[in-house]
């Protein structure tokens, strides 16, 4: 089942996510990318209802882009996080006319010149927290424990990736419904980008 987690290191933030698209007991796909590159310096890792996830993350991405086109300056990570939270909160109260809230949990990582790297936790009932490390889904039971034990302030990229790998190993060995493949993306002063895949079965 779903595993999305992220952490802040020295001059960068990263998000790792499983890449399984499942329905009931069936795996449809094992290379589904659940981390969106929101803009040049932001990552949006999302878990939840598959349709909601695609719709909502894309809606946020397009609005962030629109802001940049209109105003010539990008949103800060904090502003984007608050905007995202606001949109979730608005949708949360919309049960009428066939509408329903989005079931998506979000980790938003970004890098700003003034504040450096940051990570925001936003869940489907529009909770917003600024964190150093965070996780969603069944994998969070293991990745959070792993990060509690091994996370340090100001970790280097190497140390952080090592921790991510520890989390993935723990998930794969302890979670009954562990997903096989993971993707890791990072964001630092040079921008947001894919870092690596951790695949234990070939992508289907």
């Amino acid at each position: 089942m779903e595993c999305v987690f992220g952490l802040v290191g020295d001059g960068f933030a990263l998000i790792a996510a499983d890449s399984s698209a499942v329905n009931s007991i069936l795996v449809h796909k094992s290379n589904e990318d659940k981390i969106m590159v929101l803009d040049s310096h932001k990552l949006l890792g999302a878990s939840g209802e598959a349709g909601d996830r695609a719709q909502f993350t894309e809606y946020i991405q397009k609005n962030v882009h629109l802001y940049q086109f209109r105003n010539g300056i990008p949103l800060t990570t904090a502003a984007a996080a608050n905007f995202t939270r606001g949109e979730l909160a608005t949708a949360l109260r919309k049960f009428c006319f066939g509408q329903s809230p989005y079931f998506v949990n979000i980790l938003l990582a970004g890098y700003d010149k003034e504040v450096g790297p940051s990570l925001y936790y936003i869940d489907y009932i529009a909770t917003l927290h600024k964190l150093d490390k965070g996780a969603f889904g069944y994998g969070s039971y293991f990745s959070l424990s792993m990060m509690d034990r091994h996370y340090r302030n100001g970790m280097s990229l190497e140390q952080a990736i090592d921790l991510v790998d520890k989390c993935i190993i723990e998930i794969r060995s302890r979670l009954v419904v562990a997903p096989p493949n993971f993707v890791i993306k990072i964001v630092d002063q040079n921008g947001a980008r894919e870092y690596a895949w951790r695949e234990s079965i070939p992508s289907v």
Partner: protein, 251 residues
Amino acid sequence: MSRRYDSRTTIFSPEGRLYQVEYAMEAIGNAGSAIGILATDGVVLVGEKKVTSKLLQTSKSTEKMYKIDDHLACAVAGIMSDANILINTARVQAQRYTFAYQEPMPVEQLVQSLCDTKQGYTQFGGLRPFGVSFLFSGWDSNFGFQLYMSDPSGNYSGWKAAAIGANNQAAQSMLKQDYTEDLGREEAVNLALKVLSKTMDSTSLTSDKLELAEIFLLPSGKVKYQVCSPEGLTKLLLKSGVNQPAAEPSA
């Protein structure tokens, strides 16, 4: 014949002009003037209060300067009733932005949103344009201190020093002459007072005819909007020397 193209706000004349908009700008030309100067460490706004009657109770608070948000203020020239509407919109916009993003609204975005409102009244029929010019001053993390001027057509532009209202052309050319890039806030105040003293109709400047507001950064990094008290203004006028002791008592 001349009434053909100016009775409606939204119709171009054969020369390609919008007369109602130009008339609105004319209305501002009669209003008390305001000067804004961008300094290295802040923005200075100075306004002329027109004393229409001796009996009129001059307002205790400012009547030309308005705080829009913690980091933003404006000076007004034109029809005050129109201005009040726009100032209200501006304040709402600023708070809406903060609500959405939990960050102060960038200065230019606020100016732009207000000018969009103004522009609407030059294009949609049956309404007259707002007879107001603004000087917006503010600070944001992207572009630091900024000064913008807007007019009834909905145009706006960024300035280092700008004047609106009565005699604004004379004031503008004096500013052009005396403005230097490395002006500090104190010098900017002096320059603004000097320019205003020369472009105002009355012979002597007194604190009851003036308003002075400044925007600057506190040592903590917070933006501060400060309105100068009448006593402070009197002192400043004496110090700057623009106010030669008048021979006759000012009426």
